[in-house]
Every structure is written in structure tokens, then in C-alpha cells.
């Protein structure tokens, strides 16, 4: 890198590196040089290009800028994901779905390859809990199934699947899945880590 970047202070970059699973390079935009054939903007670059007029280039003072959900869910990584709204909501501080840069980085950090299983399980639980009552109840499951199969299962099949899932995974018998049940079930899934992963 030719010129010294002025988007973040060194201290901020260190903080990002210690608190997330990304490196400094990945946080910054990668290309300041001319003549690079493929600009591959990383996290800050991606965040900036969604709304160049709103997101400042200078983050040294930690500006309080949030991007609304509509912009975030149009990102190519999230666009085809049936749970995109829930993902963004789970990581947003205000619960409405607007992400500050910190939330944005946090989201992709948890969804990256290096995040441990427990952390991913926590956020996966949050994502599938549509009514945010700390349980995955039958209505949450129905919504999940509808999103997964694009509403192509019959109502009877959906009910049957929901019943069977709760039957299988519910350990404490309260008719819905708490986090312990969910985590227990996830621990038996060999491919959870590879499917719950977005590459940016």
C-alpha cells in the first residue's frame, strides 16, 4: 500500500483485529493504487459503496452512521438468502435492522469461517427466532420452513415437519426449542459450520 490510509487510526484497526475474526486488510478498502485490475473492496469499502454520500471516508472519530436495512439486504451476499432480514435484524443494535459499521463488521465476522461453533449457534438461534421471545416456537418454525422452501410445501406437510422437529429437538418438553435444545441439536450436525458461513 503506497499511501498511509486515513480511514481508521491504528488503534482502531488493532481493536477490530482483536475483537473480530478479520485482519486489518480485510477491514479496509484494499485498493488505493491505480492500475489494480480488480478492485476488491473489503469491509469498509463495501460499507462505503452502499451509500457513498452518507458513509464518511474518515472513521477516526467513530462517526455515528447507520445504514438502513433495505440497503444491506441488497448486497449480493445476502440478496438470495431467505433469512436476510432476520440476519440483519439480529446484528443491529436498535433491532430495526439498521447497521452501523461496527454491526456490519460484527455480522460478517460471526458469519466468517473462523468464528467458533458456539458463537455461530448463538446467532443462528437469534436468526431463527422470528418473534424474538428467546424460543423457537411453532410459528417461528413455520416461518423458517416457508422461507426455506419458498412456500412450496403444503400446509399439512409444514405442520407435520414442525411437529416432528419439536419432537426431535425439544429436550425439556415445553413444546418449543430453547437455546439449550437448539445448541444440542446443532452439535450433532456435521455441516453446520460450513453452511452457516458467508464469504465476503
Amino acid at each position: 500500500m503506497g499511501n498511509k490510509q486515513t480511514i481508521f487510526t491504528d488503534e482502531q484497526l488493532d481493536a477490530y483485529q482483536d475483537c473480530t475474526f478479520f485482519t486489518r486488510k480485510e477491514i479496509l478498502r484494499m485498493t488505493h493504487q491505480k492500475g489494480m485490475p480488480f478492485p476488491c473492496p473489503k469491509l469498509h469499502g463495501r460499507y462505503h459503496e452502499m451509500a457513498p454520500n452518507v458513509v464518511p471516508m474518515d472513521y477516526t472519530k467513530d462517526p455515528d452512521v447507520k445504514l438502513p436495512m433495505q440497503l444491506i439486504i441488497n448486497m449480493p451476499e445476502l440478496k438470495e438468502n431467505p433469512f436476510k432480514e432476520r440476519i440483519v435484524e439480529s446484528f443491529s443494535e436498535d433491532g430495526e435492522g439498521s447497521l452501523s459499521f461496527n454491526d456490519f463488521v460484527d455480522m460478517f465476522s460471526v458469519l466468517s469461517e473462523m468464528a467458533p461453533r458456539e458463537l455461530k449457534a448463538i446467532y443462528a438461534f437469534k436468526i431463527y427466532d422470528f418473534n424474538t421471545d428467546n424460543f423457537i416456537c411453532k410459528s417461528d418454525l413455520e416461518k423458517t420452513l416457508n422461507k426455506l422452501t419458498r412456500e412450496e410445501l403444503t400446509a399439512e406437510e409444514i405442520t407435520l415437519v414442525c411437529e416432528k422437529v419439536i419432537e426431535e429437538a425439544d429436550m425439556d418438553g415445553d413444546g418449543k426449542l430453547g437455546f439449550a435444545d437448539f445448541e444440542n441439536m446443532i452439535s450433532k450436525a456435521p455441516d453446520f459450520l460450513s453452511t452457516f458461513h458467508i464469504r465476503i
Partner: protein
């Protein structure tokens, strides 16, 4: 006065969440005293359990925005008040609060790090407060995290973190499920505290230069490793085709294609070994040229003619040492010759080693496949995992997302159908009827097998007579070439026709469970194929069949096997064309039905296994047969895939394919590979090779070449008698071999 939260306390959760606490008591047993409390609380509606801590903080901390959708604190006002201490205790014990509030997470992690720190040592008895409930022993009021504000909780956590090692600290910072802003604040406090002279500086935090370098190196390696891993799917052949097939037709049809890929891998390994150690060297040092017949197209079908004296068959390979020293040959330069290569030894060792390697690969595939299909604790738990873990978040393109959605839908339907079919009661009379029907069907199928075997036996005898007659009469060359084709043709016809009979039988039997139906069909077809092959092997080895009058019987057997392989391929093609393409056209145009023919997985897989068995049987007699099989499998993949996409539909009775791959590999290992290995061992140990051709001319058995070599070694260098001792007592001792093979399988 704190506003009471609505927390539902459940006993099992306590025991589970506090599993790491060094408390000597069993938490679960003690909570009888909480029962009344539980009853009181369970009558309340569920609410976010984390609210109690926010609530207690009251107005002393900066107001945190309420997440949308959570009940506002005002609603809790009307609930009955519990004592603050009880609530504090309750609030800090169960770990249901998995990220709803910052304060809760901080307290939880504070406890966790405290436990981590205390794990090595138990607190001395004097310090334990004598509370009636052991779980309160560690909750002293002054350090009770639940009573603190957010800032106080944060400092508590920081204090706990500072007492950990730098690696643990970094790990906690990374894995705590807080938002990034909060993590940065924590980190800042950590740095601030560390900056003051004291423990932090001395401990060498994760932010020191050395460990940072380590950290970077580690990150770099990790990045490289993940980069390689991400390239791996792209490097796998047919990755995209397989994904397409899987998403359109489900995992059951996909298992056939995956099995084909596995077989291809086995053949490639086999072929490479033989190529490097046997074929290439013999090609470099060709023997004296025999009279070669001109190449006509028929050779590809019969394997005879031009191919008879070629690398394809056993008879071509020399029985001496290739590249002998100068004295043996009349005209060669006086330059020092390179190392002599003992062809017979190389031949038998390479075949042996390749079989051994195939055995190991098979056992490994089998164990991995078992591991995968049974890891999830059997069929229970599959559905939940499918719902939560099936969607691949990496899918970015619309078309693939749609395919993935279809795939998941198909799999869910499969699982449901399987569950549904499991529970259906039956009356005793009906059961008896069914047993009778099954017995009759089995009787019929066994009878068919017997009939086929007898037919093959008599036909082969008849052919032998005809061929002898044809040779005596010196008839047309075409006739001579065509006669050996008749037996493979008959066998292939049988294998094509009889499975349809079995399908009719299965339809008549009316199986309830589609899985069982498939297994029974597989068993019957397999029985037919293996019994017929067994008869043929017996004929080849006892030289009772077509090859008995040949001088070079091994080449003859090799040619026979080549013909069988080619015939098998031709009939598979015909079956695809007639069974799938023509049938679809008939259904659409003539009968005007929209239904397409189904892809019969069991039959196709058995055909693959049969072809592979033929290859393994023929490796000793025709070292290039694996190459033929590779070509055949490659062509088969594309033909089957095209036919599948154009003509077939996914199976109407969707059944779970997760165990089918295991079954296929097991079938490949046990009747197929084991039979071939037994055949090979018998040939090597007991059958007399021909006198005039091949690497083992004139010896008593093929195995003798190995023995001769060991004797030679002993003579040349008396110091290695230990080797001959091993050879004599271990390898020759069959009991020991059985032990070793048993141990390997275990």
C-alpha cells in the same frame, strides 16, 4: 424497588448450565425448595429473561434502547413482587439469556471467566459461606454481579479477564456474543488497566509484539489453509453436474453418481500402479514380435485378433528379466546397463499391492460412510438438522438458490415419507398372508437364479463343442471370432431381463417400506449376478469351458473377461436407450401420459458393481482392463446424466439415501471385492500357469516366482536369512494371514 422479571425457571436448565461449577453438590437434586417458586413463576407469561438486570439498574446507567418486539418494562409492574435477593440469584443462574441484553451477557461471561479461573483450585472451606443452598455459596452480596450497573459489570468482567492468560483473554474477547462496540469498550478498559503498573504488563497481553507476530503468522496460515480448502471443491471433477443432479432429483439419485465417481477413483489408482510398474516397462522392452494380424474393427468387441499379442493380455509379458546385461544379447554396446527389472516378480507384486491398496481404500470408504450416516444418532434428529442446517448461506446466485430450495424441499418430503411409512399396524391374518407371499416370491427368484446357472453351464459346454468343431473344420474367421461372443451375450441378456421379472415380483408383493423393497431387490439381483459369475470363474479356472484347448489359457480368460466388460457396457447403453428414452417417448406420444420413467437406482448401482467385479477378476489376466473400465465409466457418467436430465423423473416414493451409499460400498466390498480377492489368491496359489506364454511360464504356480526370488536372495546374501524366515513362517502360514486380515477389517 426492583421491578420483578418474568422468568421461568426450570430445574433441568440449572443442572445443565452450572455444569462447570466446582460446587460439590448436585444442583439438580437440591431445587426441591424452589418448587413453589417455580410454580409461582410458571404461571406468568414468558418474557425476555434479561429484562431483570436492565430493570434493576434503573436510571443509573445510560438508557439503552429497547429492542423492538420485547415487552416494555411497564407491563411487568403488575406482577407480584419477589424478594430482590431471590430474583438476583435466579437471574444469574440459568443461562437462557443468550444475548438479549448486554448486562446479562457480561454477567454471564463474568461468571464463566470466574469459573475458568477457579477451575483449577477449589475455594478453601473456611471461605465458603454456610448458606443452605450450595449454589449461593459463590454469590456473595458484595461481588454479586447481578446487582451492579452495566459499568460495574463491565469492570468486574475486565477484572476477571485480567486474571486469565493472554490467550484465554483473546479467546474470550473473540467469542463473547456482544456487539462490536461493547467489545471495543471492554478491550479499551483492558488496555487501560493493563497500562497501569501491575499484573497486566507483566503477563504479556495478546497485544504484545511477539504474540502479535505469532497471531499474524497463525492468521496467515489459516487464511492459506482456507484458501486451499475453498479451491478443493473447484478441483473436484463434475462438481457442478453433481450439484445440479442433487438439487433436481434428490440425494438418492445423486448417490448413484457419487458411487460411480468412487469407482472411477479406485480404477484410476489400480491403473496407475499397473501402468507404472508393469505396462510401461514392458512397452519399453517389447518381446520378439509374433505374427500380428491386421487390425479390424471387430477387435474392440472381441478383444481377440490384433489385440491377442498386445499389452492388453497376460501372454505378452516376458518371463525373464527385462534389460538383461550385455552377455545375454549378441549385439550391444559395452556401456554399463541399467538395473535389470524382474518382470514376473514385478507383475505378481504389483497386482498384489494394488489389490491390497484397493482393500484399504474400500475399508476406509466404508468406515467413513458408516461414520457419516450414523453420526447423527440414526434417523432421529435428521429432520431438525435438515431444517436448520441445510441452507447453504454461501449460495449467492439466484438459480442456485432456487435449486437449493428445491433440493431442501425434496429432502424434507423424503424424510416425511419415510417417517410416515414407519407406523402402520396390521392384523395377524394379513401378516400371515404377507409372509406366504414373500416366501413364494423368494422361492421364485431363487428358482430363476438356478435356472440361469444351469442354462449358462449347458450353453458354455455347447459352445465349447461348437468351437472345437469350427476349429477342426477351419471355417470362416468371422465365425471363429463370433462364437466366443455368444456366452457374454447370453449372460448380459439374462442380467438385463431377469431384474424386470424381479420388479414384477416386487410389485406383486406390495412392500410397505420403500427402503426394504429396494434392499430386497438389490439382494436378489446381486445373488443372480454373483452366482453366475461364480460359475464362470469355476469354469475358467478348471479350464472346462471355452479356454481349455488354448495353449495360452490366461490370455484366453483375459479375452473372455474383456468381452464380458464390453458386452456389459453395450447392454447398459441399450438399457438406457430403450428403458429410458424410448419409454418416455412411448409414454408421451402414444399413451399421452405426462409421467416420465423413473430412474431405477438399485439396478444401475448393481450394474456398476458387476462391472467392477469383472475388472477386478480380470486384472491378473489383462493388466490394461482397468483402463477399459475407466473409459467405460467416463462414458457412462455422461450418458446416464444426459438420459436422466432428458428422460427421467425423480423416484416417486422418495426414500432416504443417506444409508444407501453405505450399503453400496459394503456391497462393493463384500461379495464383489472379496470374491475377486479369493479368485486371485486361488489363481496365484494353486493354478498352474501355461507352459508357453506369460511371465510365469513353466512354473508350478504363480506364487512360486516369489518363493524362487526369496531363495535366490538367500543364496546371494546369507545375512538376510531373517527375511526368508519371515517369509517362511509368517507369509506362508495361512493362519497368520487370516489374523492380519481380520485385524485390518477390525
Amino acid at each position: 424497588m426492583s421491578r420483578p422479571p418474568a422468568v421461568t425457571l426450570q430445574v433441568s436448565e440449572d443442572a445443565e448450565s452450572d455444569g462447570q461449577e466446582p460446587s460439590p453438590c448436585n444442583e439438580g437434586a437440591l431445587h426441591t425448595s424452589f418448587r413453589q417458586l417455580i410454580q409461582e413463576q410458571s404461571s406468568l407469561a414468558e418474557a425476555a429473561a434479561a429484562l431483570e438486570l436492565q430493570v434493576q439498574a434503573g436510571g443509573r446507567e445510560p438508557p439503552e434502547p429497547w429492542p423492538a418486539g420485547w415487552p416494555a418494562p411497564e407491563q411487568d409492574q403488575e406482577r407480584a413482587g419477589y424478594s430482590a435477593a431471590t430474583l438476583r440469584v435466579l437471574a444469574s443462574m440459568p443461562s437462557r439469556t443468550i444475548g438479549r441484553s448486554r448486562g446479562a451477557i457480561i454477567s454471564q461471561y463474568c461468571n464463566r471467566t470466574a469459573r475458568l479461573r477457579r477451575r483449577g483450585s477449589r475455594p478453601p472451606l473456611q471461605q465458603l459461606s454456610r448458606a443452605a443452598r450450595p449454589s449461593l455459596r459463590q454469590h456473595r452480596p458484595d461481588t454479586d454481579p447481578a446487582a451492579a450497573t452495566l459499568q460495574e459489570k463491565r469492570s468486574l468482567l475486565v477484572k476477571e479477564l485480567l486474571s486469565l492468560s493472554p490467550a484465554q483473554r483473546g479467546h474470550v474477547l473473540l467469542s463473547v456474543p456482544l456487539c462490536l462496540a461493547e467489545k471495543r469498550t471492554l478491550r479499551q478498559e483492558l488496555m487501560g488497566q493493563r497500562g497501569s503498573p501491575g499484573e497486566g504488563a507483566r503477563r504479556g497481553a495478546p497485544f504484545s509484539p511477539c504474540s502479535r507476530l505469532e497471531y499474524h503468522v497463525m492468521l496467515g496460515c489459516r487464511g492459506l489453509w482456507y484458501g486451499l480448502l475453498s479451491l478443493l471443491p473447484a478441483a473436484q471433477p463434475w462438481h457442478r453436474s453433481l450439484k445440479q443432479i442433487g438439487s433436481r432429483f434428490g440425494s438418492s439419485v445423486l448417490s448413484y453418481f457419487l458411487f460411480l465417481k468412487t469407482l472411477l477413483m479406485f480404477n484410476v489408482v489400480l491403473f496407475l500402479l499397473l501402468l507404472v510398474f508393469v505396462v510401461a516397462l514392458q512397452a519399453a522392452y517389447p518381446p520378439a514380435p509374433a505374427s500380428r494380424r491386421p487390425f479390424t474393427g471387430l477387435e474392440l468387441l472381441t478383444g481377440a485378433g490384433y489385440f491377442t499379442h498386445s499389452l492388453l493380455y497376460y501372454g505378452y509379458y516376458s518371463n525373464g528379466t527385462l534389460n538383461e546385461p550385455c552377455a545375454a544379447r549378441p549385439n550391444c554396446s559395452a556401456a554399463a546397463p541399467p538395473l535389470p527389472y524382474n518382470m514376473p516378480l514385478a507383475y505378481v507384486f504389483t497386482v498384489g499391492v494394488s489389490f491390497f491398496l484397493t482393500c484399504i481404500l474400500l475399508v476406509y470408504s466404508m468406515s467413513r460412510s458408516f461414520g457419516e450416516s450414523y453420526r447423527v444418532g440414526g434417523p432421529a434428529g435428521d429432520l431438525a438438522i435438515k431444517v436448520f442446517c441445510a441452507w447453504d448461506f454461501k449460495v449467492v446466485r439466484r438459480r442456485w438458490a432456487k435449486l437449493q430450495s428445491e433440493n431442501i424441499r425434496t429432502q424434507l418430503k423424503e424424510l416425511l415419507a419415510e417417517r410416515r411409512s414407519r407406523c402402520r399396524p396390521r392384523s395377524p391374518r394379513r401378516q400371515l398372508e404377507r409372509v406366504a407371499v414373500h416366501l413364494l416370491a423368494w422361492g421364485l427368484s431363487l428358482g430363476t437364479v438356478l435356472g440361469c446357472v444351469v442354462a449358462v453351464h449347458y450353453f458354455s459346454g455347447h459352445l465349447h463343442a461348437v468351437q472345437q468343431g469350427a476349429q477342426a473344420r477351419a471355417g470362416s474367421a468371422w465365425r471363429r471370432e463370433a462364437v466366443p461372443l455368444a456366452l457374454p451375450l447370453l449372460v448380459a441378456l439374462m442380467h438385463a431381463a431377469v431384474p424386470h421379472l424381479y420388479n414384477v415380483l416386487a410389485a406383486w408383493e406390495e412392500w410397505d417400506s420403500p427402503v426394504r423393497e429396494v434392499y430386497v431387490a438389490v439382494c436378489r439381483n446381486l445373488l443372480l449376478k454373483m452366482v453366475v459369475l461364480g460359475l464362470l470363474c469355476y469354469q475358467w479356472l478348471s479350464r472346462g469351458g471355452v479356454c481349455s484347448s488354448e495353449a495360452c489359457w490366461e490370455t484366453c480368460v483375459g479375452q473372455d473377461l474383456y468381452r464380458f466388460v464390453v458386452m456389459d457396457f453395450i447392454f447398459t447403453l441399450l438399457d438406457t436407450v430403450f428403458g429410458e428414452l424410448l419409454w418416455r417417448l412411448v409414454l408421451e406420444k402414444r399413451l399421452k401420459r405426462r409421467q416420465r420413467p423413473e430412474f431405477d437406482i438399485a439396478r444401475n448401482v448393481l450394474e456398476l458393481i458387476y462391472g467392477q467385479t469383472l475388472t477386478w477378476l480380470g486384472v491378473l489376466f489383462s493388466p490394461l482392463l482397468p483402463a477399459v473400465q475407466i473409459v467405460k465409466l467416463l462414458l457412462l457418467f455422461y450418458i446416464k446424466k444426459t438420459s436422466l436430465m432428458q428422460n427421467c423423473q425423480s423416484p416417486s416414493k422418495p426414500w432416504q439415501a443417506s444409508h444407501m451409499s453405505t450399503v453400496f460400498i459394503t456391497l462393493l466390498c463384500f461379495p464383489s471385492f472379496l470374491g475377486a480377492a479369493i479368485f486371485l489368491s486361488y489363481t496365484v496359489w494353486s493354478v498352474k500357469p501355461s507352459e508357453s506364454c506369460g511371465p510365469f511360464q513353466g512354473m508350478e504356480t504363480i506364487y512360486e516366482s516369489g518363493k524362487t526370488w526369496v531363495n535366490l536372495l538367500e543364496k546371494s546374501n546369507p545375512n538376510i536369512t531373517w527375511f526368508t524366515w519371515i517369509h517362511q513362517y509368517l507369509v506362508e502360514n495361512t493362519f497368520f494371514l487370516f489374523l492380519v486380515s481380520g485385524g485390518l477389517l477390525w
